[in-house]
């Protein structure tokens, strides 16, 4: 999140990353690429619903579901 937001941030796990201004459309693209690189996974385009990545907890939930 620090890299994507380009500043030190520590969002509440349930806080909307879009509503708080930490993510915009293009930063979301960077976040998804960062998750793929960090966790060594490929996130299919079909899974790329912005709502799935709208909070830290939602991102964690998505990653846990990937096994």
């Amino acid at each position: 999140m620090q890299t994507v937001a380009k500043r030190n941030v520590s969002p509440d796990p349930d806080e909307s990353l879009f509503d708080s201004g930490l993510l915009d459309s293009f930063a979301l693209t960077d976040l998804v690429s960062g998750l793929e690189a960090e966790f060594g996974i490929t996130i299919p385009d079909r899974d790329l619903n912005p709502r799935k990545f709208d909070s830290i907890n939602r991102i964690v939930e998505y990653l846990e579901n990937q096994g």
Binding site: F18, L48, N49
Partner: protein, 308 residues
């Protein structure tokens, strides 16, 4: 494969500045420029969608040195047809004097002209006129005005003659793709406001456009660095820049006129191609890549090389 023999475009005269459109949706002109790269767009007044398409088509025929009576087919891509059927293609073909050439509508926003070029290149036994025409002003002015939509779009038309045996650009390869899972993320129903999930559109376009360009280039043993000119749907300057960044090339390789015309949906790629074609002085045998992404989602890329 076939050749792209000539391009043409037409833009209505009335210039709508960011100050004018911004006043209607309570947006600062500088903010509009920063989020889109757009400074102004054109809105047609009394001209119809068919009027715009015919003028662009006539310009492309003149550029290609083809007369309408020679045409085998006329394709018109648009997301803003004012009626369900018949679509504008039959009227455009009749007005151009192309009857009885087959007139085919591609009711596709943004990616329609790219699909038209790809299909025409595969089908052409005689000259095929592909037109992208949009009258987006009638859409963005529908209430309730939505800021993220109203600031983006403009009117215009672009056209290209696809020829089976001659032209300055030879079509090498193309790939066109669709995924209806995202049909609700960008849609326009008759008489309704345009609905756009901008986050989903940007996210998908940012991944799909570079991917399809890379796929077409790779199977032709090329890389993005080999391509001096990209002619892409003019959706948003920030998206164009993002696609260039993902491909690892400077965004100056992407011809851009979005600052002056806004997003003209299916017309934009051919308007850009027409302006590039008129000004181009590139040497022979350089690759030129077309690419687009739009509602559906539909997306694709087409690889050409300049032909002596």
């Amino acid at each position: 494969m076939a050749y792209l023999a000539g391009f043409g475009h037409y833009l209505p005269a009335r210039v709508v500045t960011n100050a004018e459109i911004g006043a209607r949706v309570d947006s600062d002109p500088a903010w509009i420029l920063s989020v889109s790269g757009i400074e102004e767009r054109r809105f047609a007044a009394d001209e119809s969608l068919v009027d715009l398409a015919v003028k662009a088509g006539e310009a492309a025929l003149a550029s290609a040195g083809v007369v309408a009576a020679e045409l085998e087919m006329v394709m018109v891509a648009t997301g803003t047809s004012p009626r369900n059927f018949p679509g504008p293609a039959v009227s455009v073909a009749e007005r151009l004097g192309a009857t009885p050439a087959a007139a085919i509508d591609l009711p596709m926003a943004s990616a329609g002209s790219l699909f038209g070029l790809a299909l025409a290149a595969r089908l052409a036994r005689g000259p095929i006129l592909v037109i992208g025409a949009e009258k987006m002003s009638g859409v963005v002015e529908r209430e309730p005005l939505e800021k993220g939509v109203a600031i983006l779009f403009g009117d215009g038309a672009g056209a290209c003659v696809v020829h089976p045996s001659r032209g300055r650009l030879r079509v090498i390869d193309s790939e066109i793709c669709s995924d209806g899972a995202f049909a609700e993320d960008l849609k326009l129903e008759q008489g309704q406001p345009l609905l756009m999930n901008g986050r989903s559109v940007i996210l998908q376009a940012s991944r799909k456009i570079p991917a399809v360009i890379s796929a077409v280039l790779t199977r032709n043993e090329l890389s993005a660095t080999d391509v001096p000119v990209f002619l892409m749907h003019q959706a948003n300057q920030n998206l164009i820049d993002r696609v260039a960044q993902t491909l690892g090339i400077d965004s100056t390789r992407f011809f851009s006129n979005i600052r002056r015309y806004g997003n003209t949906s299916s017309a934009s790629m051919l308007i850009a191609a027409s302006e590039w074609f008129a000004a181009d002085d590139s040497p022979p045998l350089t690759p030129v890549v077309f690419a687009a992404f739009g509602a559906g989602f539909n997306w694709g890329a087409l690889l050409t090389e300049t032909h002596a």
